[in-house]
């Protein structure tokens, strides 16, 4: 590789950082840049709930310090959002109107909160917790709130719910069957989740839906289709994640739910790779695309994408935990289809 190469990684999570580490290790001369629209260096998302309660200080959230990037000669562009990719000229366009060139690109932009179409009228009232930025915005509000309403569920949502319960908040949750989209909770699973939650102070609402939300922060009034009325200081929505790929739309890189990549994590455009939860990976065994979640998957994919970008020919395999535990119920880790079961 020549020293003129500029490997750019969009995304500062486990996939992006492991891709960067491999690229630096294998090519000492090239420029390596990581871009993230968040302002914080690489951090443990699973620890965000602890950060909200105050049990995890900010420094313990961090996986890597800024000094470690400097030591590795990896440039980190934090708080910078890529708005558009021009694959013909290999140019990234930022929202702050800067243009930079890449030689090869790794997209590891992760995923964002999913907004259910039925909830769009209430977007003004809903809060989402998917990132450090979200947490910074809501941390004090959560501390000051007495009553909190959660809509949906999903893995993060239930962890959040447990945290609020431990903080002594009065919490109500409307478990939405499609919270784990596209994986639906079976009635049996739902009953088990409700049974387990009944041991807490959380008020659980099931087989119902939002009919109306009125009010303002600190004084929301929620009505359900079954006539239940609730008051809340804050309303949070946890309805799964959706790949964060808006910036590649129109670029020529193919996408479906996520960015379509082959088993080598290469996109449909030369010199552009994708990995982590923003990628929809082709599985030749089932002749279908799947999206994965979970930290180990992201790490593995980041490393494989980097190796292949440098000329290797590694096929990705699903790794990591097969199941997540949701209130005592085991949920499979892949989204659309589970590779191992097919």
């Amino acid at each position: 590789m020549s020293s003129q190469d500029h490997y750019v990684i969009i995304g500062n999570g486990p996939a992006g950082n492991h891709a960067a580490a491999v690229l630096r290790k294998k090519d000492k001369e090239a420029r390596v840049s990581i871009i993230s629209d968040e302002c914080i260096p690489y951090y443990y998302k699973p620890k965000l709930t602890g950060f909200i309660t105050g049990s995890v200080p900010r420094e313990d959230l961090l996986v890597l310090s800024l000094e470690s990037y400097a030591r590795e000669n990896i440039r980190v562009r934090l708080g910078q959002k890529v708005e558009r990719v021009d694959v013909d000229s290999k140019t990234l366009h930022f929202s702050h109107m800067e243009k930079i060139q890449y030689t090869k690109l790794v997209i590891a932009s992760g995923s964002d909160s999913r907004m259910l179409p039925s909830m769009e009228p209430y977007e003004w009232a809903l809060k989402f917790v998917t990132s450090y930025t979200d947490v910074m915005e809501y941390k004090d509000q959560i501390k000051n709130a007495q009553e909190i309403f959660i809509f949906g569920g999903d893995f993060v949502g239930f962890k959040f719910l447990r945290m609020l319960d431990a903080m002594g908040k009065k919490v109500s949750i409307l478990i939405y069957p499609h919270a784990f989209w596209p994986y639906n909770l079976s009635d049996e699973m739902l009953d088990q989740v409700v049974a387990n939650l009944s041991k807490t102070r959380v008020q659980v609402i099931v087989k119902d839906d939002i009919k109306d939300i009125k009010g303002s922060p600190g004084a929301y009034r929620i009505k359900t289709c079954n006539g239940i009325e609730k008051k809340a200081d804050l309303i949070f929505s946890f309805n799964g994640m959706t790949p964060n790929i808006d910036f590649i739309k129109g670029s020529g890189i193919d996408y479906d739910h996520g960015i379509l990549v082959d088993e080598y994590l290469k996109t449909t455009v030369d010199d552009v790779y994708a990995c982590g939860s923003c990628a929809q990976i082709y599985n030749p065994a089932i002749k279908a695309y799947t999206v994965t979640i979970g930290w180990p998957n992201a790490v593995n994919q980041g490393e494989v994408a980097a190796l292949n970008l440098l000329g290797d020919h590694k096929v990705i395999t699903s790794v990591g935990r097969k199941y997540f535990d949701l209130e005592g119920v085991k949920i499979k880790t892949t989204w659309w289809k589970n590779i191992e079961d097919e």
């Binding site: 260096p41 990037y69 934090l78 708080g79 929202s95 702050h96 800067e98 930079i100 930025t133 915005e137």
Partner: protein, 586 residues
């Protein structure tokens, strides 16, 4: 209750409203009850689009120094602001124009070059200003609007502050600025997600009475007027020109005269002439002008004529760095010129003391019939602080000439030997008070006399008088504790004193046993007070803004012990953070 201590910098190009935005911010914050200190830096060249920075520190508590690193950088110009990023704290906030007129190439954008950890807020400054007013001139106000929203500042009060700032302008100017501000505020409210922890909501505000927001030059001019200055002569020079500008308007209203001379030599000549005529007279200059004035300073001392020179120091030598601050004229102020030429030198330590020191300078010059140099610097001259309304000078400071009694005029000896060296001075026109005044050595009548004994006696008289000035010295400023013994004693002077005192206060909170000492009077120096202080300190640290440690060498000579020097010639004011760091290392 929360306390706030924040430094906000606005960086732009000359003509982009950078300095005026900073001024508006400072005035508004002061009106909200906060302590403020602000300092602008701008290019020396009058023409062009050089870099301007308006630096403002805002605090719930008293402020002694401007703060080294900024918590917030508002960028009105990417190119200039990129070079200002090094002054932004690691987790600082950056507010920048997210919709420039054309895209930036790689690394030409301040947002792109921001240090990792910076919290950026992109605001379409130009676009919003255009929307509000039809042109982009209001970008600075849009930025203040966004800042106001992000940091929870009172929008209505801020709007009133802007209206007050432009109160004398046409309505369209007021409306343009207010509308731009509101556009920025509303846009930020709709579009920005708060990601930093700064907030002015529910923070402690010191309760204070009416405050004046002035810089050192303004206070010097105000003090001079309050102390009955009647004549000012000068030649414009940065950073002292503002004093002359103010006095050119105000002095005639007070019955005085301002003379713009052809050069600095003429200015000091005219001041000595006015002083001889019994008028309170003053001139102001900077290093290059002070060098020229040296030609005349000896006359003031030899002929015992009151004269006050303000030397607002800037980077030197020669024409040096006109818009950068430095404390490198210490030696020139105390020792320039020929012969044994004792002169009084006062160096205010903060904005407020510019007032008191000016009153004292005019008083000492008149009472002791001698030259007084008032040593300011670019930072003191230009930094703005909100201060209590100064107390008008006491009566004794307004008329200090010791006139001859009637019986003394029967055989009037203008330079009569006295115990303290002060000879009663007749003002020209006083019947019987005619005398010779000359730069030549002279006898008690003022007649030239070069005798061995005469020269010795007259020199002794001038030095006796000089030493007796010490009784007028303001009490040294000290930060000490009941312990009475310290590991580190910080001795400072001039504008570095505030930073030194602040550093010592912070150091003590960290467990460093330290104390500080500074004196406004540099010549004659209160030596015994400094020696006494030094005896309580194991190590002595002397921070100052010059290369060689001019004051440190002077102080070491008095203390007769080694001192640790800390010197900067960055053109920026002394930072308490740097002194603190040095103390940690000692």
């Amino acid at each position: 209750m929360k306390e706030v201590n924040i430094v906000i910098e606005i960086c732009g190009s000359a003509g982009e409203g950078t300095i005026s935005a900073g001024e508006i911010l400072s005035r508004f914050m002061s009106s909200q009850g906060f302590e403020i200190m602000s300092f602008d830096s701008y290019p020396a060249e009058i023409r062009g689009f050089g870099k301007c920075v308006a630096h403002t520190r805002i605090s719930s508590n008293p402020i002694y120094s401007p703060g080294k690193q900024a918590d917030v950088l508002i960028s009105l110009n990417d190119k200039h602001s990129i070079s200002q990023l090094s002054a932004l704290k690691e987790n600082g906030v950056l507010i920048y124009d997210s919709q420039p007129t054309k895209p930036h190439q790689e690394d030409n954008s301040v947002a792109g070059r921001a240090n990792p950890g910076t919290i950026p807020y992109g605001v379409p400054l130009g676009m919003l200003a255009q929307k509000a007013t039809g042109n982009t001139r209001g970008r600075n106000m849009v930025a203040l609007g966004a800042l106001s929203c992000l940091f929870h500042l009172d929008k209505d009060a801020f709007t009133e502050s802007i209206k007050a700032r432009y109160g004398k302008k046409k309505q369209i100017v007021i409306d343009s600025n207010v509308n731009s501000f509101l556009e920025g505020f509303n846009w930020a409210k709709e579009n920005l997600k708060k990601a930093d922890a700064h907030s002015f909501e529910d923070v402690k505000r010191p309760k204070h009475k009416e405050k004046l927001i002035l810089n050192g030059n303004q206070l010097v001019a105000r003090a001079a007027l309050d102390a009955n200055l009647t004549f000012y002569a000068g030649y414009p020079i940065t950073p002292a020109t503002k004093i002359m500008e103010i006095l050119s308007k105000e002095l005639p209203r007070h019955g005085g005269v301002l003379l713009q001379t052809e050069d600095e030599i003429a200015a000091i000549g005219a001041v000595i002439g006015a002083g001889f005529g019994g008028k309170r007279a003053m001139t102001g200059t900077s290093g290059p002008g002070f060098a020229l004035m040296t030609e005349f300073t000896g006359l003031s001392v030899m002929a015992e004529v009151p004269a006050v020179i303000i030397n607002s120091q800037r980077g030197g030598p020669s024409t040096g760095m006109p818009t950068k601050t430095e404390q490198s004229d210490f030696n020139a102020a105390l020792f320039s010129g020929t012969g044994d030429c004792p002169r009084v030198v006062l160096a205010p330590t903060d904005t407020k003391s510019c007032y008191d020191a000016t009153v004292l300078a005019l008083y000492i010059a008149e009472k002791y019939q001698t030259l007084v140099v008032l040593l300011l610097d670019f930072f003191l001259s230009n930094s703005i602080k909100n201060i209590d309304v100064p107390r008008k000078p006491a009566k004794k400071y307004l008329n200090a000439n010791i006139a001859p009694k009637a019986d003394e005029l029967k055989d009037y000896k203008r330079y009569r030997f006295t115990k303290n060296g002060i000879s009663p001075r007749s003002i020209p026109g006083t019947p019987g008070g005619v005398f010779f005044a000359t730069g030549l050595e002279h006898d008690e009548y003022g007649r030239p006399n070069y005798s061995e004994t005469g020269h010795l006696a007259m020199t002794q008289k001038r030095f006796d008088k000089y030493r007796s000035v010490l009784s007028e010295a303001p009490k040294p400023q000290m930060v000490i504790s009941e312990q009475g013994e310290y590991d580190i004693g910080v001795i400072s002077w001039g504008s570095s004193a505030g930073a030194a005192h602040e550093a010592v206060m912070t150091a003590r909170k960290e467990g460093i046993n330290a104390a500080s000492f500074s004196s406004v009077m540099l010549s004659p120096f209160p030596e015994s007070a400094m020696i006494e202080f030094s005896h309580t300190c194991k190590k002595i640290l002397i921070p100052e803004l010059n290369f060689s440690g001019q004051f440190a060498d002077f102080a070491a000579g008095i203390l007769k012990r080694p001192v640790e020097k800390l010197n900067f010639i960055t053109g920026r004011p002394m930072a308490s953070e740097d002194i603190l760091q040095k103390m940690r290392e000692m």
